[in-house]
Subunit: 355 residues, 2 copies
């Protein structure tokens, strides 16, 4: 209803068919296209008379000029857009990652284009489409869990500006990962400190780099506590609630039963907890559950899940810094976010072992 005359309140001129071009602005301002181009790009180093500049600015404003993306991209041979591609965008844990990526991208004048990885389509197709067709200048890619990174690496052109997150491909692509070893260790140490000795691991797929490293951290903590990480106390399942349920059922076959479980990711932990209720197992009375990765869902289970919060925001920022560097030169790097360390968030799903 407000109409204070400011341009922000006017309808957005957006129809592609009626797009106003530089030359229209030039015509109205009575100057050449190049003058308009210079002024509108805001290049500070250019010399234009204040008068011309003003005429151009008002003409552009009146006409609602917007630069054409394709034309700019064609001429510059770059788009100023970065792709962020993950297997499942609606996974709550990506919230932080996306924010990290977007914040850092914005800070460098890049836009981010989100993509989803179709499980049934080859991963390379996305890469080829985005990078190969020049839709993006660089790619932050989380490969689908269960895809062998070595195999993926084979398919990557080493010249492509790709940075893998949560996975590595030495010599093929840059990578940024969170401290999965530390995360697995922190989770397990928490249970150890609570007095648990029969600690199980509801781990991820063995093909997953992330899962392997969380497992390593778990085992480190076990050994450090003089405990034996027994193979039958480990499951290897995927990242869904349903697979968390399966993991619990398998683990509960054990005799004696474990009193504590480290779950390799939140979604599985949520399912595992629901299954515990279904089986009449009291958490944390009979069983303590701690999960690696945190998200809003973990706060809203019953009991709320104790979790190890991983630094996804930082990973997102670092990944963007890394691709942008890659676009400039050919340097390939492998980074691990160690600095903000994983942090244990104690909620209600873990308790001291009561004998």
């Amino acid at each position: 209803m407000s109409a204070d005359g400011g341009p922000a309140d006017e309808p957005v001129r957006a129809s592609a068919t009626a797009a106003v071009t530089l030359s229209e602005v030039a015509a109205r301002a009575g100057v050449s296209v190049s003058a308009v181009s210079k002024v509108l790009r805001g290049n500070a180093a250019i010399r234009v008379s204040p008068d011309t500049r003003q005429r151009i600015l008002t003409a552009a404003e009146e006409l609602r000029y917007r630069p054409n993306f394709a034309a700019r991209a064609l001429q510059a041979a770059r788009t100023q857009v970065l792709g962020l591609v993950v297997p499942d965008l609606t996974n709550a844990l990506f919230t932080e990652l996306m924010h990290g990526v977007e914040d850092e991208a914005a800070a460098h004048g890049y836009t981010v284009l989100l993509g989803r990885l179709d499980t049934d389509r080859p991963q390379t197709e996305v890469i080829a489409r985005l990078l190969g067709e020049g839709r993006v200048d660089g790619l932050v890619l989380q490969a689908t869990d269960g895809v062998d990174p070595a195999a993926l690496a084979q398919l990557l052109d080493p010249r492509a500006a790709v940075v893998l997150i949560n996975s590595v491909a030495p010599g093929r692509a840059s990578s940024v990962t969170v401290d999965d070893v530390g995360g697995g260790r922190t989770a397990t140490e928490h249970l150890v400190e609570l007095g648990h000795t029969r600690i199980a691991l509801a781990g991820g797929l063995p093909t997953s780099y992330t899962a392997q490293r969380r497992r390593r951290g778990h085992q480190q903590a076990m050994r450090a506590a003089g405990l034996d990480p027994r193979a039958d106390h480990e499951t290897a399942l995927g990242y869904t609630a349903d697979q968390g349920r399966q993991a619990l059922r398998a683990l509960m076959q054990l005799d004696p039963r474990p009193t504590g479980i480290v779950v390799a990711n939140v979604n599985a932990a949520v399912g595992l907890l629901a299954e515990a209720h279904a089986l009449g197992i009291d958490v944390p009375g009979d069983l303590s559950v701690v999960t690696v990765l945190d998200s809003w869902t973990a706060e809203n289970t019953w009991p709320p899940l104790t979790a190890v919060r991983m630094q996804f925001y930082a990973m997102g920022r670092t990944a963007v810094t890394s691709v942008i560097r890659r676009i400039g030169d050919a340097t390939m790097t492998d980074e691990v976010i160690l600095d903000p360390a994983p942090v244990l968030v104690v909620r209600g799903s873990t308790a001291s072992l009561s004998p």
Copy 2:
């Protein structure tokens, strides 16, 4: 490791700096660029000698030619990409929507670009950036809940190919919505059938079109059952778990307390349920909870949430059909997905009223 020689197994050539162009292919095939263009676009109607065609095809293959997106977009004045913009991509309930959008878009040869709406940035900026700069040909947009649709409508150029989902802007943009009235009604009817009479509504914001209509459905069902939809039995909160918790606390002040609650969305319902546990309220013993909207999280609470599944997949498909039509001609439409009706999924959070 496999190396069967097929091109699919070769590294993806993707570096923008080393992109191979049409003229390089032409040179290698010993023909003109225009010939290559014709053949590679696969236009069936063109006449080229089988021999030339073959030479072109092999040259393109050997060089790993990929058409440049920007060049095509510039020349065609369209990108063949559609934008899907929602407030929060990681909201699990968008899974179905995205699939619907992607499936339908793919069927028409469009790619979809996902976007997130920053709460702190004006919604029009996204529209201007995507549509105005010609990054996309059309937009499927879910406005942030709480943004007044009328206000948004003012800001929309009626010529822009925008279709709103879960909201309307008559005369300004096309729209597609799910059957919110039916959803609210179905949820409430379920509680009525279980014998509840003191039924509360943990509704959404009054500015939300969707929330308004779910509320209307709720009230219809109440009146049809001879019940009085009392104002103090309704809350109006947003779409987060935390706001669901607040709603429950407010509702539990009532004396007598309601025995059933219809929650306007899943995330709030998950929070509300967690809060019920925290307050020592037995669900469904003391209180039945049913939510409009379903997602994997609803199956993994304790007890699992009874939910009304809305047709988000269909809405996604329809929305895409709608934008694409809008790109061609100027027809503006408002559609409601009535055909697959909302479906009640009974799980454990609702039970007959036990006196």
